[in-house]
């Protein structure tokens, strides 16, 4: 076991897989010699050569389009989109091509393709370095979407994604790359070193896709979150003294409904939290599923605490970000009924 931050864990997942399987390659803007703008692919080009870790032109449709061709050949590309905000030029390749390759060829071609992308806000990145577009991909038949919340899960989920025979979108909440940010922006940030999930095995292991984790057991209310929001939720309930059960979804699609149902049927209350904009967000899907499956166990309407339906503002970030006040208010509302 070694203490790793998220970046080191993600780098280690690449390293482990590139050493084990010479069909695994890493590609993207600045990922080669420099090792990526967040350094997630640092040292890989030196270790595995420029044929297996290389820079690409600034062309997201080109990155994903060529990665699809490589996966069709039989490689397992791990393609980095430098910021999730830049993924839209590749949307057609992901939605119309990657997602449907297995289906439209009746299983003749499958794509073992991983698309990594730093995502989410809290870093004063403005509207082009802060977005959380997961629901756009969760809506597409044939794509899996994964969002880790800690170094241990990040490495295990990324290895599982690389080994998965289908395309996986792997969104990395960049606000927690270096520490489990809890939403209290006016308090000092704790590094990962003090967090139990920063203990990461150096070798190969997986965290299964499609399995949520109950990160805190509780009786009063179920709070479903993922990514950065897991830490914000935990800090919020601690500050408010609420005995909430907190589920870290980890994989957005396929959804682990068993874990959610079991928890909501126990607590009778549910709050869904995400950083992404509210309308049409993934919280709507979660809320609908909980309502459909747990209606007779619910004591109160399912609440949502999310980003607002505006573009991500720069200077007003802490008014936009779903922090402890918004989340605390939603939880208390779910408890009041």
């Amino acid at each position: 076991m070694t203490v790793m931050n998220m970046i080191q864990a993600i780098n280690s997942a690449h390293d482990v897989m590139m050493a084990r399987d010479d069909t695994v390659i890493a590609m993207g803007e600045d990922v080669g010699f420099f090792g990526g703008v967040f350094r997630a692919t640092e040292h890989l080009q030196k270790k595995y050569g420029s044929n297996r870790c290389f820079d690409t032109p600034i062309s997201e449709n080109g990155i994903i389009g060529t990665a699809i061709g490589m996966a069709a050949y039989g490689l397992k590309p791990v393609a980095e989109i430098q910021f999730a905000d830049y993924i839209y030029p590749a949307f057609d390749q992901l939605v119309s091509e990657a997602a449907r390759m297995r289906y439209r060829t009746a299983g003749e071609w499958n794509l073992s393709l991983t698309v990594r992308s730093p995502y989410g806000g809290g870093i004063f990145g403005g509207q082009t370095h802060s977005q959380s577009p997961e629901s756009l991909f969760a809506h597409v038949a044939g794509l899996k979407t994964v969002i880790p919340s800690n170094p241990y899960d990040a490495k295990g989920l990324l290895i599982a994604a690389i080994e998965d025979p289908d395309p996986v979108l792997f969104f990395e909440p960049k606000r927690i790359y270096n520490g489990p940010f809890d939403g209290f922006f006016d308090r000092p940030v704790t590094p990962w070193a003090k967090h139990p999930k920063a203990e990461v095995p150096e070798g190969h292991y997986t965290v299964p896709l499609g399995k949520a984790a109950v990160v805190r057991e509780g009786e009063a209310v179920t709070v479903i979150a993922y990514g950065t929001m897991v830490h914000v939720v935990l800090a919020t309930i601690e500050a408010e003294g609420i005995d909430a059960e907190v589920i870290d979804l980890r994989t957005i699609l396929p959804i682990d409904m068993d874990t959610i149902e079991e928890s909501v049927k126990k607590t009778g209350r549910c709050v869904v939290v995400h950083e992404a904009t509210r309308t049409g967000g993934f919280g709507g899907e979660l809320s609908a599923l909980v309502q459909e499956r747990c209606f007779y166990h619910l004591e109160a309407p399912v609440e949502r605490a999310t980003g607002f339906d505006t573009p991500y503002p720069h200077s007003l970030e802490w008014a936009y970000f779903p922090g402890p006040i918004r989340i605390g208010t939603a939880i208390k509302k779910a408890l009041e009924v």
Binding site: I25, N51, R52, T56, P57, S59, N61, G62, I64, G65, T66, A67, I68, G69, M70, A71, A72, Y73, G74, L75, P89, D92, Q93, S96, E97, M101, R102, Y103, R104, T105, A106, G107, E108, W109, N110, A141, G142, K144, P165, D166, G210, L253, P254, I255, M257
Partner: protein
């Protein structure tokens, strides 16, 4: 909307919207097409620098002259047996297209697309590639499958979306896919296959393989961003790929000028990207073969991609859903000054003394019978069902292959669908 600010002495701006030189009712006019004499274009050495090819992008590689002789440096000097195989495959494609077009008109399927006049672009190119090379076609290169010996019956089963459809009824007719025959799955989203072909070729290079990729795109969809991405990546990584632009002059109803075809040649795109480029008479099977082989040889020598404009003409409508008489003069295809690829190769074979009327009659009879027999076999497996829930496929397969493992939400929806159909049957 006018501005209050005075801007004297400035002419009013006007927008240029390109128009073809003939619309329905006009005389067909191909006088603007510049046709260099066959054999007049030099052939660079296979190891030439890209720049040494760049004057060729404004010319036209042609081998067959008007009298059916193969002339000049680009003559691939194929033996008569190979010429006859190319000829036969093109004839198969045309007869196949005619029968499937009629099958669509008879209501046996929803949709069809012919490749009339463009058979050489697919067939002769496939003959110039290795069988193991991967092709990334558009919907008008069915000739590649034919040239590689894919069973006609299986193509028809796909067109009919029937019980034996290899793609289980999931794809629109003619959107074939065959990994074993080096024919990448066709997408209806145009240009997406172009960067994929480059990626496949990059992978082949990464693995030290010797196979190359050959990609196809239409003149119209060169306007897509994927075209730019693909050619950029191909050039940057010197990918072993042939980038064919099939300029058949028409993107449904939009003439090639709407894609920038009036401004320069499509082959000239190669100049800006610094890769090798050729402009080829796509209705000359020998020129198509020679250019493809030249580009393939370069790719195999790690000399990188070649962009080839296959200059041809879409003789028929875009698809069975299209009526070209609504936007261009009738019978424009018959007036195309570069002729018909099948007629031209036949003329060449006759000139060589390798073909005659008896052999032609025999071939047509054999191929007609072969296509008819394939159609009979295909129709035994059913044709498209559009007004019944007695589907050709096991309906539960609808939920397979979304992922390798079916997640719970798809299992639930599958059960829901089965229940719906049971309710309907009651």
């Amino acid at each position: 909307m006018t501005s209050d600010i005075e801007r004297p002495n400035r002419p009013a701006l006007s927008l240029h919207v390109p128009e073809p030189n003939a619309r329905p009712g006009d005389e067909i006019d191909f006088s603007h097409i510049v046709i260099p004499a066959a054999g007049s274009v030099r052939k660079p050495d296979v190891s030439a620098s890209p720049a040494e090819t760049h004057e060729l992008v404004y010319s036209l590689v042609r081998v067959l002259d008007d009298d059916g002789n193969a002339v000049g440096m680009w003559d691939p000097r194929l033996d008569p047996d190979q010429l006859r195989r190319i000829y036969r495959d093109m004839v198969v494609v045309r007869i196949f297209d005619d029968r499937m077009y009629r099958a669509q008109r008879q209501g046996k399927t929803s949709f069809y697309m012919k490749s009339t006049g463009e058979e050489a672009v697919a067939v002769a190119a496939a003959h110039a590639l290795d069988r193991e090379d991967m092709t990334f076609p558009t919907y008008r290169q069915q000739g590649i499958l034919v040239a590689r010996g894919y069973p006609l019956r299986d193509m028809m089963c796909q067109v009919y979306s029937n019980r034996a459809d290899p793609l289980k009824g999931r794809q629109l007719p003619i959107m074939y896919s065959s990994r074993d025959y080096g024919f990448f799955t066709i997408s209806g989203n145009l240009a997406t296959q172009y960067p994929q072909a480059v990626g496949w070729a990059m992978a082949s290079a990464i693995r030290g393989d010797s196979r190359i990729a050959s990609a196809y795109i239409g003149d119209g969809s060169t306007a897509e961003g994927d075209f730019h991405a693909a050619v950029t990546f191909a050039g940057v990584y010197r990918a072993p790929v042939i980038l064919n632009i099939v300029n058949n002059q028409w993107a449904i109803s939009s003439f090639s000028g709407i894609a920038g075809g009036d401004l320069t040649t499509f082959a000239a795109r190669a100049v800006g990207y610094g890769i090798a480029g050729l402009r080829v008479d796509g209705n000359d099977p020998l020129a198509v073969f020679a250019a493809t082989r030249w580009a393939a040889d370069r790719a195999r020598l790690n000399l990188g991609p070649t962009l080839i404009e296959m200059f041809t003409y879409r003789v028929e409508g875009h698809s069975t859903s299209d009526d070209p008489s609504a936007y261009r003069p009738k019978n424009a295809g018959a007036a195309w000054p570069l002729g018909d690829p099948i007629a031209r190769l036949k003329q060449h074979l006759v000139v060589l003394g390798e073909w005659d009327d008896a052999r032609e009659a025999d071939l047509l009879e054999t191929v007609e019978a072969e296509v008819r027999a394939a159609q009979r076999e295909a129709e035994k497996q059913g044709t498209l069902v559009t007004s019944s829930i007695e589907f050709p496929q096991d309906v539960t397969t609808m939920f397979e292959d979304v992922f390798e493992q079916m997640p719970w939400h798809l299992r639930e929806q599958q059960a829901q669908m089965v229940a719906e159909l049971e309710a309907k049957r009651k």
